[in-house]
Every structure is written in C-alpha cells, then in structure tokens.
Symmetry: C2
Subunit: 490 residues, 2 copies
Amino acid sequence: MAKEVTNKQENYSQWYNDLVVKADLAENSAVRGCMVIKPYGYAIWEKMHDQLDRMFKETGHVNAYFPLFIPKSFFSKEASHVEGFAKECAVVTHYRLKNSSDGKGIVVDDDARLEEELIVRPTSETIIWNTYKGWIQSYRDLPILVNQWANVVRWEMRTRLFLRTAEFLWQEGHTAHATEAEAIAETEQMINVYAEFAEKYMAMPVIKGRKTANERFAGALDTYSIEAMMQDGKALQSGTSHFLGQNFAKAFDVKFATREGNLDYVWATSWGVSTRLMGALIMAHSDDNGLVLPPRLAPTHVVIVPIYRNPEQLPLLAEKILPLKKELEARGLAVKFDDRDTVKPGFKFAEHELKGIPVRIAMGPRDMENGTVEIARRDTLEKKTCPMNEAVEKVVALMEEIQDHIYNKALEFRKANTHTTDSYREFQEILDKGGFIMAHWDGTSETEERIKEETKATIRCIPFDTPEEEGKCILTGNPSKRRVLFARAY
Amino acid sequence: MAKEVTNKQENYSQWYNDLVVKADLAENSAVRGCMVIKPYGYAIWEKMHDQLDRMFKETGHVNAYFPLFIPKSFFSKEASHVEGFAKECAVVTHYRLKNSSDGKGIVVDDDARLEEELIVRPTSETIIWNTYKGWIQSYRDLPILVNQWANVVRWEMRTRLFLRTAEFLWQEGHTAHATEAEAIAETEQMINVYAEFAEKYMAMPVIKGRKTANERFAGALDTYSIEAMMQDGKALQSGTSHFLGQNFAKAFDVKFATREGNLDYVWATSWGVSTRLMGALIMAHSDDNGLVLPPRLAPTHVVIVPIYRNPEQLPLLAEKILPLKKELEARGLAVKFDDRDTVKPGFKFAEHELKGIPVRIAMGPRDMENGTVEIARRDTLEKKTCPMNEAVEKVVALMEEIQDHIYNKALEFRKANTHTTDSYREFQEILDKGGFIMAHWDGTSETEERIKEETKATIRCIPFDTPEEEGKCILTGNPSKRRVLFARAY
C-alpha cells in the first residue's frame, strides 16, 4: 500500500494522525495551531452540518450570524466567563499596516491602534447577549431560539488536528426564555439532539450526563455533556449543552416585561458541537487499513472498480457498470466509478479502504461471464460474490447493516471496557489499560482534583441513567449516593 | 403601519437602511463596522448559499476550509496584492489577556506578543497558494477546483449594512490549472455561473464584462464582473471572477511537472460573491411598502391570514386553511399560517408586505360561505378572489409569474435608464439623474481617472457583448474601438 498507516496498537496517537493526514481529511497550516480542512474532510463535515442543521430546525431553531470580534470589555462583565475564556485568545490591536521605512516589507502602523482591543470570539455569549438586549422587551419576544454556524479561536498551546486546534468550526445555539423551567427543558432537549445525532448518524454510542461543578462551562449553572469512548479506552466529550440561568441577562442587563406585568431577567441556554466531532468519528471506528465511515456520513457510499487485463475490456465492463451505478444513485446513494487507468486495482482497493468508503463493488471479465459482481464491506472487510441482478438490493440493505454493525461494535467495545470498582488500586490499573470506570465519589471538588492529579482521570459526567446506590468514595471513603463516570479524556 | 419605511424617492439611502432594519434583515453591532445578520436575513442568505453551492458542485467544485489568519509576511510576496489588500485590515498582535494590576478589568499581556503578526484574512489567495504548494507536484494533481465559504474582514471606514461592512460572509473559489487556456475557461465559466444565479434566482438582470486595468483585482491579470442596476440608477458590482495567471504560483513557488516532463508554474483563478448580494437583492426590487423577494429566494412563499370578528370563527377558518396549507407544502412551497390573535389583519398584511412574502392568502367568513379565498401578489399588490378549489394551482403558477415579472420589471427599468451618448455634457446630466451610459473611451487609465474625478462615474466593465464600433473618446476625443459601460456605483 502506498500510504502506510501506523499500527493502532503500536502507537495510537500516530495512527490517528496518519489517518487524518493520509486519508486527506486535514493538515497543519502555516499558521501555528490552525488547520486546513481538505476537501474530503470538509465533505464529511458538510454531512454532519446538514444533518445537525435539519435537527435544529425541526426543533424550532433558526440561524443567524454575529460578529467575529468582541470588545475586550464585554468579557469582564460575566465574572466566571472571563476566567474561562478571555485569557488565551487572539487579540486584535491595530487596523492598518504600512510599508516599512526600509521599503522591504510591511509593518503594523502604530497610528492605527484601536481604542479598545477586539478579541476574536472564543465563544459568543457576550456579543449575543449584548445584542439580545435590543431584541427583548416583553414575554412576547420570547423564546429566542437562535443558532450560529461559525469559526472560533482559542489559543491552545498543544494542538492536534480536529481534536484541539486554535481555530475550529462549530455551531453555537443561544436561546432566551421567559422561565427557568423552559430554559432547563431546552438544555435537556439539545443534549438529547446531540445524543441522537451521535448514535444514529455517527454510529457512536454516548453517555449523557451532568458535569461536576469543576468541569462546568464558564458562566453556566449546569452543563450536560455526551461522552464517547475512543478505541484506546479514553473518553471524548462530543457535545455540551449549558443552562446559563440569568447570568448573562444580568451581565448585559436584559430584562423583559412578564405576562403578569413584572420585570424579570431573561433565562438562557447555550449549546455546541464542533469539528472535534471529526476526531471522534475517526477514532471511534477506524482500523489499521484506514477510516471506517458510517454510511449516513460517508460522502461516497459505493465505489465500483473495473478489473481488466487489457484496455479493450474496459468499455465492455463500463457497459455493465454504468447502469448499475445509475440504479444505485436512483436509490439515493453516492457512487463513484473508479476507472482510472494510471493505477492498478490493488492500489485502488487500498485507497478506498483508507478513505472508508462503506462498500466496494469489483467487476472483472469472469464476473461478466457469470453475471456477477464482488461486493466488499469496509467495516468487516468481507467479500462476497453476488448475482448482478441482486446487487442493488444487496448494497442498499448493506448500508443499514453496516451502519448498525459499526454502532453495535462500538457499543460492545464500550461495554467490554467499562468497569465498576470500589478499589482505588484497581481504579488505577483499569485506567492504565484504558477504559471507563463507574465509581463512587464523595461529591467534593477537592477529591475530584486529587484523583485527577494522581491518576489523570476526570469525572466525565454524572450519568442521567445511573440509579441511586449507597457507597463509599473511591478515594476518601466518605459516603456517596451514586456512581459517577471516570475516565482519562481527550 | 407600525414600522414606516422612508419614501424611496425622498431619500433612497434612508429607504434602503429602513428596509434592512425594519424587515429584520440585519443591524449594526456593538463592534464598529460589523453587522448582526438577523434570522430573517440569514434565511435569505442560506437560500443563496444553498443554490450557489449546488451550482458550484454541478461545475465540479468541492469545498474546503483554510485558516482565518494569514502571516503578515505572506502579503508581501505578491507585490500588487499587498497594495490592494494588506493595508486596511485587522491585525492580531497578542495571544493572551491578563487581569489588570488594579484588579478592575483585563488588559493585553505584553509577554504574549506574537513573533509575527497575523492578519485576519481579507481574501485567501496567499494562504491558499502557500497550501497548494504542498498539494501540487505533477499535472496529475491538477486541476484543483476548490471553494471556501468563510468570513473575511476589510477595515472599511464608511460602512453600510450588507453593502460594505468590516466583516462579511462570502465564498471564494480558488482553482489551479495546468494550462493558461484552462484557467481562462474557468474564469469565464464562473462569471457565467454568477450571471445565471443573479438572473434566474435573484431575478436581477446583469451585464457581464471585463474590468479595466484600474479596476482589476489586486494580483489578477484579468477581472470579469457582473454589474446590476439599482433603482436609483447606480451600478452594483455583484460578483467577480479573476484570471490570476501565474502570479500567485510564482509568489509561492508552486511548480508542477508537465505531461511533457518539464517544470512549469501553475495557472490560477479566484472568484467570489458575498453578503453584498443581499444589498443588491433588496435594492433591485423593493418598494415603499417593503421588500419584494423573488419566490426562488423567499424563505416563506405564502402566508395565510384568517379574517374573523369573533374568536369562535378562527377554528372554523383553520379547518379550511390547514388542508390548503398542507396541499401547498406538498407542492414544495414554504407556507405560514398567521393565526396570531394579538394583532389585527391590517397589521399582519403590512408586516408580510414589509418582509416581501410573495403571496398572501386571506380568508374570512364571507369566503367560507362562497368557497373562495383572496389571493394578493406582493410584487404588483394586486388582489383577486379565487375559488378555493383552484387556489393551489393558482398559487403555484403565481410563483413562476412573480419570478418572471420581477425580472422583467428590473430589465425594463435598466433598459429605460441605459443611455448611449457621445456628448460629455449629456454624460454628466444623465449621471445626475441616474443611469448607465454606453460611451466611447480612449483606453487610457488617465482618461478613466479624470472622468471619475469630474463625474464620480467609473467604467463598470467593458461588456462582452457590445460590438466593435469606431468612435471618439467622450472626454479626449481620441479614437476608440468600442463603447464601455459607465455608471456611478455602490
């Protein structure tokens, strides 16, 4: 194979990076920490975008667009928000360049210094709530259910393609409500939307739960998250939904006349997922041959490869293949006929596997004689000969089968690598092998931090669906009422 | 009417601004020169985005994403490009803030100064060609047909919503080719795509042509544009497509092995349209009652308003209206049933007219008795009573009729306000009234600049479809071989 991928067991981190780069998903740019999302990677992101956008609209949301820049002073208005976000960020201080005096280049023009510095948005709560102040006077103006698709910048020191980059693409929902209950219901609805997207489209099982106070979004009263297990047993936080209470309404003085004629501060939520999901998708399913994409997010569902010895055979094969391609397309599938004559079939097979195309159909002279094709699944690498006239139904059915199989495989993997323990020593052993741990915790930030220092594990969430259970904290032995989810995380 | 719009004849500029703000399309933000695109404005932009994106993909392009930031030194590499773009721009100089020593706010951390300043992209040729260097080795890697949807920033001193803002949304295509002829064909193809979009979807007739050297994109060998006439007779450049020659390939040293085994620099094009199209759409068709939207870009095609005296009548009307709504939706139309009981029908009518919804259906008790509805067109403001059982077909047909009528009206207007003259005095008189002028020009930049100084008119383009014609320059009397298009412009 031309582009060899590092073995996953040997070096998981290098395996991931190889996949991203060699499958043409993304690469590092000339700008520190910023990535270039290449066409194939962007095509997958577009599929995610389109499906999420549909789900947001089905739940009553509309899109809008707010400025890239935020005045520095806005960040000081919400005390905990500034601690969380305003520190590591890109700061615009000038608005003009000029020719340097030696004539050899351009320099910043000191006469063009901004009166107030502008921050490239790391998240948009402040600029949006400053805007909502003008939109909301009465309960009749509520709810506001707005989402934004945008780029944001957080000056990360250690970056990894998709997982942690200085600039990334995301969506951020920002809603405004008349009551606390309605805002909480929205926060719950959106974490459910994210979970449904992760499971049904990304084929990635997730655990929904509440973050501890330590891990909450800066400025939120409550943060819900979905957590997925990667193939090294580590957790990847894949989406968050925040109940912001009246914090931002108070910071930006956004009050409304209630139905009863009083004045009250508006209730808020915000929620987001980002191109980080690309990292999750890659790490959840792929293998040493390359990407494994769930059909619902694959830009190409089927690739058809003609096998021939001499060039005269190609048109004869094409005569059979093109109608098949058309029929598959009529069933809603994206199909590619790979008739390149510059590379051999083996090279093509490896390339299509690297790129995670769910189904490959091969057809050679023998197949033509027998009226068959060879159908190969990317997920299991199984190959089967199939009568030509059954191929369309077979491939259509395979899309659902593959989607389900990838999901179930990931779910089985998570089950096999999720442990319940009451021993701190075992806790540490499990972490070193990789996996999720359900363990008791005494509910204090101090304990949470000590466990993090000693084991590098964090409380990923307090899952919504774990039952109450009396127990003793894994570290301190103090009483606990329910197990929480511990793991090392990306 | 609740939200009165300034009369167009009285104050065209205020009329435009009123429409943008009162129809809830956009508003100025707290950040100088940056706008907030409100949900209704964004919904129209999404329709533009989706249609353009389809057209780009049909012509073989794929999307990708490149960094927001560009190292300052990149701009110095293409000499004319830096003059055109790098001067008025947002400059990132620091990457961290810290608490101020008085504890009262946050300040820029001087220890976190960037080694090299980063420019927020005003356009992406430099960062993209620096990236293409890694993608292109041989003719087999060509062509590259990439488009990017992104935000860009140009530090404009005088801004106007949609027409000229510091930050705006756009798409920028950047293609790479093995031959000059192929790059020129691409440049032509894309100006044709833009013209088709403007005419078929925006219902806005445009003139295609070549820019003069003075008006070329900074770094291009040739710039094509589409120019549209606004209702004040001024021109609005609505899209540009640039043949960049080998300029950027030379600046970033992007060479490829040709089929013949030589090394050559790669040929380039770039092309873009922006949220400026929103301004063009508004100004091309709207009237004193508000927006007039072409059906193909209207987020809502039909609004249905029930007319009733007492609340008991509403459910009876709804019983008739909801099946009608469903039938219209089954025909692919976006339909809104405006059953708000907090405002009167007259208020609703005015609001729907302000927002440019192409068709309004009203139904009252009398209509129920007679089995009719009232159908009103937004473009002509005509109202007609129509049998209920013919309503669906009527409305579906109206969509095409309105789309065509808006286009034809704009075309008639442009014809009526386009003049041919050989007298410089008449030239100036026409400009003062507003309109396009086809006049002779001697082909020199000096003449072009003098005309601009004296009349504020620029050469919008040298139209592709004007015949050769011997004549004398309108200013200097020097010989000229063809008329060019002059106008004052946005």
